[in-house]
Symmetry: C2
Subunit: 402 residues, 2 copies
DNA sequence: TCTGCTTAGTTCAGGACTAAATAAACAGTA
DNA sequence: TACTGTTTATTTAGTCCTGAACTAAGCAGA
């Protein structure tokens, strides 16, 4: 059956579908409030979606003093999206449903610096897609450790991958024939958090990641802050001292050079806490069994992160801080240093800002990348451009082909 | 004559007027591009404005290969706005034209902590207004050293003024019977810079102020970033060390406690550079006549500011940094410390970001506050609410009463 | 049971806006 | 001089969306 809407940018229709997919059934009034459109328009749009067979009316919800709401739900099995995490030595894939849940995941070694990296990447994605369900595929999200000009364009600068102005978006788009959204990996996490996590109810929050590197993403007024060149959130290279260990970025005194996993291991080796050749997992194990020197290494890192993050919170004024990343496995040990330093350096008015540490999983990065695709229906304009339009079209058409 | 438009929110009409007032005559096509609406709509809107007698067609501009543009200009003498700077011990007023130029200014002692401060403030404003021109008054902008819930509401938290949740906006609105916009003073500068200054051509920039305090404002995607509680930009309380001099905010190691004017004077006294009782002007004078110890005090401050600001630039990713404030008088001396520290701590990709130091005048703060009023026609929604609507209505009606 | 209150949803009229086609008015060029 | 290309401005037809008025459907209390 043909969809009644023409080729126009139908942000609202797909936002309704995405919201129903992500948050479950909702009433018209609720949808109108959430997407901030008038109830009148919502009536009209849902009518179209119902006659198009994409949405059904469910049971009435119990009344709360007024006319009971008639709930609306998705008809289709929902779309799916692919999320990809790219780092220097491996790639990870996930396939997620429209509600953000992971259906399938996979991880492989990969040489990002190879000359054939782009072609290789495309092949790997293709074969991952082929192994998946046959539900309609909305698009592919890619998270990279670097800055991206625009998510819908996808030109990447990523020193860690040896990438300078690599047009990965354009390249994948052509070879895959699918909508592709590329974004900095921490920003991708922020998109996921905004859609499915704690950010759903908070329009101003800060994401901080710890692990092999240190990163941040800023969400202000519900929008991910990208900065002039898509490079906002580079917390890892915040200088915390005039001198200090040299960072892989070439500068001295970067936060990351003090508290990345490699830095912690170096510190532990220097202090004789670990035997030569040991790594971060040994350090964590030592701390876990109560080795106070090992715990001290984490606490020192926590103190430095706490102080620096306090400054960033003063400047950015979020309502919530979310800590993520592989390093959160050791958060219990960071915490003893982080909490006092963080709180002590905040202004009185901000001192009680909540810091949430969410459970971290191996595929969280890739899951974030997939959220880039699932978030596009909600953005009224701009960043994703053509790719956003394509994803919306796919979402609206998904059930029509049955 | 009655204005054809009803009570609806006519953002575009007033944005056209404001743009013509601020930037001078422009063609329809130019206006359409600047305000990002279709040429068709611009034809329609300008026709209304012309028949309403608010805008006139001027000479044709010389062609650049196509049909020559017919320029449009304002008919009315333009509106005016009042800007007010409030600090602990004095207030400053300016009256500005619609192009942002200062017509008149005044400064008086004032006790912000007094119980009657609000009533007093209102009286002073009233008498300043009465002394002014009789051009239509669009509204009153107030800049405060603290955080404001919403510019159109105006509830202020300002430790420096001993103000806790003071509803200055509501209060002034009632007593003056005029639209009142209240905002943090550095954010007000940012609004002015965005309208009339270097920010006109840059959507992502950072304002930094040095002087009695240290502040910042962040403009991202053309919008002033306010944070969750309107307190974004508190650069002064960025912790730069675990310990350190205690700050008036109560914490230790704040940037402001190291590089505010008071801190510089203290440092100079400690080092024996200045005799007891001397102040910042003596320190500047000493540096100006080449006293290397005095210069060293400024350079140390510059180094610390440079390093911290480099971090903020990494996190926020602006395209431009603008330095303002009373302290810029001594910038030549800061610079020797600032430049190397700032550049050395930036990632290679950002190292060439321009830092502009603009000429500072006594009434710049108040001028910024006035810009809050002049900027309202351009914001399509939200922050200023009713006050914005009132200001727009006044702008559109300004000439109709002739 | 009736009245008032609250919330949900619909209808209708009309305003804001755009895309596309067209006209107008130039510059450059062979 | 006619032709091409460019930029500006206008007209037209129609889309998107909202406000206001209204209906629908419950609850709570007199």
């Amino acid at each position: 059956m043909a969809i009644s809407s023409t080729e126009r940018t139908d942000v609202n229709r797909s936002a309704i579908l995405a919201h129903l997919g992500a948050s479950g059934p909702a009433s018209r009034a609720e949808l109108a409030r959430t997407l901030s459109v008038s109830p009148a328009l919502m009536t009209q749009l849902t009518r179209e979606l119902i006659t198009d067979g994409l949405v059904v009316e469910l049971e009435s919800a119990p009344s709360s003093g007024g006319r009971p709401a008639r709930m609306l739900g998705l008809v289709a099995g929902g779309g799916r999206a692919i999320g990809i995490k790219v780092v220097a030595d491996h790639i990870a894939f996930v396939e997620v449903g429209i509600d953000g849940r992971v259906l399938r995941s996979q991880s492989e070694p990969f040489d990002a610096a190879a000359a054939t990296a782009l072609a290789e990447l495309s092949d790997r994605i293709r074969s991952f897609i082929d192994g998946g369900a046959d539900a309609p595929l909305l698009g592919v999200g890619v998270g990279v450790p670097g800055s991206v000009d625009l998510p819908g364009s996808g030109v990447v600068d990523a020193p860690q991958l040896d990438w300078v102005q690599v047009p990965i978006g354009e390249s994948l788009r052509r070879s895959l024939g699918l909508p592709v959204i590329v974004e900095n990996n921490v920003n991708a996490l922020a998109a996921a958090e905004r859609l499915f996590g704690l950010g759903r109810t908070t329009a101003n929050f800060l994401i901080v990641t710890i692990g092999t590197g240190v990163g941040a993403a800023i969400v202000a007024d519900g929008r991910i802050m990208r900065g002039a060149s898509g490079g906002a959130g580079e917390l890892g290279h915040f200088p915390v001292a005039d001198e200090g260990p040299s960072c892989r970025c070439g500068n001295l005194g970067c936060l990351e050079a003090h508290i990345s996993e490699d830095a912690l291991v170096s510190a532990a080796l220097e202090r004789g806490v670990l035997p030569a050749g040991a790594g971060i997992s040994e350090l964590l194990a030592a701390a876990d069994r109560g080795d106070s020197s090992a715990i001290g290494v984490f606490e020192d890192a926590g103190r430095l992160l706490g102080r620096t993050l306090a400054g960033v919170v003063q400047v950015v004024d979020p309502a919530l801080v979310i800590v993520l990343g592989e390093g959160t496995a050791a958060w219990a040990h960071w915490s003893g240093g982080f909490e006092p330093a963080f709180r002590a350096h905040l202004m009185a008015r901000r001192r009680s800002i909540p810091v949430e540490v969410e459970r971290w999983q191996d595929d969280s990065w890739a899951q974030g990348a997939a959220a880039l695709v699932l978030a596009t229906p909600f953005e009224s304009e701009g960043l994703t451009g053509d790719q956003g339009r394509l994803i919306r079209a796919r979402l609206v058409e998904q059930a029509a082909r049955q």
